[in-house]
Amino acid sequence: MNQSIGMKPFVTLVGYPVSRSDLTRFIIIATLSVACFVITVSSLSRSLETLYAQLFYFPIVYATYFYPRKGLLLAGACAVIYEIIAYLYIFPDTGGLIYVTGQAILFVCVAALVAFISEKLNTSEARSRSIVEKAQSGIILFDQNTLAVHLTNAHLEKMLGFSSEELAGMTFPQLFSTPEDREKFFAALKSGGEARNMETVFMTRDKGPLWVNLSTSRITENLVSCTVIDINKFMLAKQAADEIDNQYKQVADNFPTSIIIIRNQMIVYSNPSFEEFSGYARKDLMGKDPISLINPVDHEDFRDASHLAETRSRPAGRIEAGIRTKSGKMHPATLFFTRILQGEIPAVLINLVDIPGQEVLKEQIQQDSKRQRGIISTFAYELRTPLQPIMGYINLLTQDPDKYGVTEETKLLLDRCAKSVDRERQIINQMLELSVIDAGKIPLDYSIFPVSDLLTEIIATGGYQKNAEITVDIPPYLTFDADRNKISTVIDTMLSNAVNYSTPPRKIHIAYISPPGDTMDRLSIKDNGIGISDSRLDEIFEPFPTGEKNEKKERYERIGLSLAIAKKYIKMHQGYISVDSIMNLETTFCIHIPKKRPEEQEDNVT
């Protein structure tokens, strides 16, 4: 049936185009018909009884099958001619005439039956043909061997500007714009048997290029159907987008910071800044999995950030990661992830800011604080030296009152002076301590020590028992794993504050409050002092209150820097200090430090 819709004109007869197959059939029908008449006539002329009427069915059925109406006419013609021949030879044999007439009528009946069946078949074929004709995409049927175009539809004709006749006279390869495109298509057809969504360029009648999408499917062994979709507008838009992309690349190429674009976990673009930064040439970077450039410890962060950027447009993510350069060095960098579209494909643009750039700033800050420490150090030296004679002479005067004529009253005043000098000395020392802690220059000296011994020692050294009723509630044999001296300083600060900010009868309660199974050691120190207002709770740990806070110092001014130092000491232990207070009733400081010393301290077993 497919052959029947071939529309290849071979010759033109009386203004009608006649295809090769039509001509062949015409010759077959004519030959058969003529043969039938010749056999009929010759058999009658030799007085043979038989008329060989059955012979006529060959041309009639054959013709009617292909050309139902013409076939019917042929059957009629054959019937009439057969009747005439019979009359001429067998008249007036009435029985013979009836038989011959019956045969002639049968010709037409058979032809009508065949015509009916053929029409039916042709209707379903016409339906298929109309589907092809009315399809919204171009359809072209071609012979795989001869590459001759067998059928095209209106859509394709409109698309390319050719008429169906013009197309029918062409071969399929002639439709391609360039030999390269053509070869690519046939290569695909050969290798995979079928082409799927191949984007290529056809040539229109006025020699213009037309972007099309081709998909083929094999209909018979030789016949291939090809769907042609016009994607010209889309491709032109894409080209425009690519142009924008190119312009964008031009910008990125001249960008001072490093930029790479990643698609499907491959680097598809890198700018010269990145090449310079990484030490790799562009050709080395293209197609590389960017993860291979990232410090393994940052892999997870990197994957998360690129995945986030790929799936969400905003906000741009940022991570800090080490980048391994070609020389094998690890460079810290800040990576900013942005989702972009390359054509229609989502991609991730990464802007890398070299941390050494930030490092300069960091270094400057470090230098500034180094300078600040230098200033503090110089001041401390200059302030301490003149204190020596003051402190020394006051000590001497009170040591030897009789020798220097110091009365009881003067001694009292001198003691106050001595206290003040001592306090100043303490402030200078604390200031120095803070600046050293801030520089990170103080190491922790971890050891395991019994807490009750430490408490006894602190209480005795500070003379706190004289000023307050101290109760201790800790398990016997309780030990801490920490820097003993630092913890001692912290507890001493707490006790000193408890005494300083309360009035007799002073009560101080020290308790170990960790519940069983706790990972932290928690020691609370509760006093019955004046308390601390909520608004001041954070502030008391601040070494240098600023602005209005400064004006509110009031009665707490003597706290000085000791709590700030205590907080830092405990923080160095990866712990914290909490404080609860009820005004004019009580204050509880609590020291929390991990039971297990931090890993980096583990080798420091003492």
Binding site: Y381, P386, L387, L432
Partner: protein, 121 residues
């Protein structure tokens, strides 16, 4: 005979004070403002303890200590660094010298007593 305590210090105000304080402690002060001069004196009359300032000239306390230990071979002469300089603790952390101590200025009478008393019976 009481123990000699040598003070090497270029600040006269402090030398004056130390004179009184050391006497009060019951020792005999040897006060010298110049490190080189002090080194010469040590040979003839070695003190029980040296109180050594750091920031002074023509040689500073560290140079003095170096000469005392290596040139004079006095490895067991107790030296107390007597200074207001904050950097001394940091430097001390890197020195393993059992006969070296520190007293940070200002020092109270009691602290001086304890500091010197460690070395002198």
């Amino acid at each position: 005979m009481s123990h000699k305590i040598m003070v090497v210090e270029d600040d006269q105000a402090i030398l004056d004070l130390m004179d009184l304080m050391i006497r009060k402690l019951g020792y005999e002060p040897v006060l010298i403002a110049n490190g080189l001069e002090a080194l010469e004196r040590i040979r003839d009359e070695p003190p029980a303890v040296i109180l050594l300032d750091i920031m002074m000239g023509p040689i500073d306390g560290w140079q003095f200590l170096e000469k005392l230990r290596s040139e004079f071979g006095m490895h067991e002469m107790p030296v107390i660094l007597f200074t207001a300089s904050p950097s001394v603790d940091e430097k001390m952390a890197g020195i393993k010298d059992p006969y070296l101590g520190v007293l940070t200025k200002p020092v109270s009478f009691d602290e001086l007593k304890a500091g010197v008393g460690r070395w002198v019976r």
